[in-house]
């Protein structure tokens, strides 16, 4: 059988893998955002103990290899708390989210700190509470500033999802490996797989750039860098 026929045969199988990979990406970015933004706010505006705890979280999840985190959660923590039956996909999505949250927190923290103090002062002078000033004045600006850096997380996260292969998540790389071991052709399958990652990379960045252009506000323009 020639290569194109093999690829067509396996196409639905691969597409399911792509969907799983994208699911992992969305979870990493989404869960990461839900954790990262409050973590950054806590770091900047929280009390000492809160900021300390968040620092420990960031230090831990940025300092450990993703592979070790996956092993730790999948083989260790989840079974230990009685969740041994949870699917590898859920564990992978959660670990990528916790991992991504630590990186995103740093991005958002930098953005919050870069905003001129006069913005807060002016908001307070109009009678806004601290919470209102953070919510309506500081955060919208911080998000605009953070967006390019946040977009640049996408390619990293996309390649990171492949590490979930190690705990048996049926994502793109895992499925490519299944094809390799079934059909006994390695190189073309792997290269096709690499091509798919490059396409996902390009398409995702394109989408994020559209988003950036859509929400752009004069005075906040600065594109994310990509090659």
């Amino acid at each position: 059988m020639d290569l194109s026929a093999i690829l067509i045969d396996w196409l639905p199988f691969l597409v399911t893998g792509i969907i799983a990979t994208l699911g992992l990406v969305l979870s990493a970015l989404g869960v990461g955002f839900i954790i990262g933004l409050p973590a950054a706010i806590g770091q900047v505006y929280g009390s000492r103990p809160v900021a300390f705890l968040i620092n420990v979280y960031i230090w831990f999840f940025r300092g450990l290899p993703l592979l070790v985190l996956l092993f730790l959660f999948y083989f260790g923590i989840f079974p230990a708390i009685g969740l041994g039956d949870v699917s590898p996909f859920v564990v992978g999505a959660l670990v990528l989210g916790l991992h991504g949250g630590a990186y995103q927190a740093e991005i958002f923290r930098g953005a919050i700190l870069s905003i001129d103090e006069g913005q807060m002062t002016a908001a307070r002078s109009l009678g806004m509470s601290r919470t209102q000033a953070i919510r309506h004045i500081v955060l919208p600006q911080a998000l605009l500033i953070a967006l390019p850096g946040w977009s640049n997380e996408y390619p990293t996260v996309l390649t990171d999802t492949s590490v979930c292969y190690a705990i048996g998540v049926a994502e793109l790389l895992t499925r490519a490996s299944v094809i390799v071991s079934t059909e006994y052709i390695a190189m073309p399958i792997y290269l096709a797989c690499a091509g798919l990652y490059l396409i996902l990379n390009y398409a995702g960045m394109k989408a994020l750039h559209l988003l950036e252009r859509r929400v752009s506000v004069p005075g906040f323009e600065s594109g994310s860098n990509w090659t």
Binding site: P65, L69, P155, L158, A194, Y197
Partner: protein, 218 residues
């Protein structure tokens, strides 16, 4: 079994061998990563069209291709075209490709940030283009790249764990073997994680010292 006894008597001795392999992977990768990264960066900024194009393709491919897939290509894929590498060599090669692609981005940014006048002044003194790049531009650009290169070094420490996926028994692999045998996943990967945290934190501190040593008055 008592956890402390397990960690001291079984786990740590078992991890030692893997730890040495991890250090070996990092040591074999980092210098080449920086060197090739610098070469690719210079190619992208100062090369002619084809060279620029090639260097750009190099970066796009090795940044966009997941490292784990790259390792599979080098270890499981290459034998099908008649090239067989040992797991260690395949891992180091993969790390060098990946590391150099990322390093080159930082170095390229630094080269671009250096004022045009530096190049002109070098040429005016009679230096060749290559001499200006080598003796004027790169010494400045490499200094400015240190924070980025350190960042990538930290990534290298962490992603060296992927070598286990192509059967290199480094730190994570050694841990996995102990954890499976004694069924002590929590303790083992926690300790393995601490070793990585130790390496990463040590690097960060060392980088600060290095930065201060090589910094120029400005």
């Amino acid at each position: 079994m008592d956890q402390i006894a397990f960690i001291v008597e079984i786990l740590l001795p078992a991890l030692w061998g893997g730890f040495v392999v991890t250090l070996g992977l990092i040591a074999c990768t980092a210098p080449f990563g920086v060197l090739i990264g610098a070469a690719v960066a210079v190619g992208r900024v100062y090369g002619n069209r084809p060279v620029q194009y090639l260097c750009r393709a190099y970066v796009t491919f090795f940044k966009g291709c997941p490292l784990l897939l790259l390792l599979f290509i080098l270890y499981f894929g290459l034998p099908s075209v008649g090239i067989s590498l040992s797991p260690f060599v395949a891992a180091v090669l993969g790390f060098i490709f990946c590391n150099s692609a990322y390093d080159s981005e930082y170095i390229r940014g630094s080269i671009r940030s250096i004022k045009e006048g530096q190049f002109t002044a070098g040429l005016a003194l009679g230096m060749s283009r290559a001499q200006v790049i080598r003796h004027v531009i790169l010494p400045q650009a490499m200094r400015r790249s240190i924070p980025g290169l350190v960042n990538e070094f930290v990534y290298l420490i962490k992603y060296s764990s992927l070598a286990y996926m192509i059967t290199v028994i480094e730190l994570t692999g050694a841990g996995k073997m102990v954890a499976t045998r004694y069924f002590t996943y929590n303790e083992t990967f926690f300790v393995v994680g601490l070793v990585y945290l130790f390496l990463v934190t040590l690097t960060t501190i060392g980088a600060h010292l290095l930065e201060r040593r090589v910094s120029l008055p400005s």
